[in-house]
Symmetry: C2
Subunit: 151 residues, 2 copies
């Protein structure tokens, strides 16, 4: 699957979830294989609505069984690290959070991940659309446990 195909597939999953996007937003969906070159297994599709100094909101799209591997959002300057709430919209996602364990999120379920806390997530067999409500997103400072990963 090319990144362009992944973007189109993600846009279709968002449309199926009843989420209306502008054409510019559809074209701007970020596709990342996290530098591992196996997008269908490991990676993420991201639509960012807003990312100010204080607030960020996104839709995360995961293909069936696709994984976003273990990482944390460390403190940066005065910021204690990104706090994230995941809310499942369609499909299902298995979320693991350090100190909490595994939680399965189905449509209407949500979980808040504290700052600087290791976590990973993997979509179920239908894939998933997950809303993320958070503090500012600074992807370049994310710390992944797998040293091969480049964000």
């Amino acid at each position: 699957m090319t990144h362009r195909e992944a973007r189109e597939r993600a846009a279709a999953m968002l449309a199926d979830a009843g989420i209306v996007l502008t054409p510019a937003e559809r074209d701007g969906i970020e596709v990342t294989d996290l530098g591992l070159g196996r997008l269908e297994e490991t990676g993420l599709q991201i639509l960012t609505y807003v990312n100010t100094e204080r607030v960020c909101a996104k839709e995360l799209v995961l293909f069936p069984r696709q994984i976003c591997p273990e990482h944390r959002h460390p403190p940066v300057g005065d910021d204690p690290g990104k706090e994230e709430t995941f809310r499942c919209r369609t499909g299902s996602v298995l979320l693991w959070v350090d100190g909490h364990g595994e939680v399965e999120l189905r449509p209407g379920d949500q979980f808040t991940i504290p700052p600087d806390t290791l976590h990973w997530f993997r979509a179920g067999d239908e894939g998933a659309v997950v809303s993320e409500f958070s503090t500012r997103s600074r992807d370049e400072t994310d710390v992944f446990s797998d040293p091969r990963i480049v964000r």
Copy 2:
């Protein structure tokens, strides 16, 4: 319309927007007439997903032509005031923001309102479902221009 009827109507509008809620969330939809006793004209239905010290996310439901009157979110302690991004999901909403003027939001459109800035909004003829992504919500400190309003 009783508050219970308003809650059921808001839940139906959220369902029509493709938004899945838990039963507890449906029962917990906040209905406010802002103390004016004319809910169908002036007021708001609110589903709060999360409201931590740092991040808040809600769905706002407005009935046809319903108004949320002019107000601002002032600084509170170290907080410079609530910053809000409104994103229209269904229907339409006319948003007025001090220093910017009027902007009509239709599905897929959004606008970020800076802290401590006067604004009001009114739904169009079909009503509206609007996602709100913001910093912490402290409704009790909101400043409405109409002194009769009680939040």
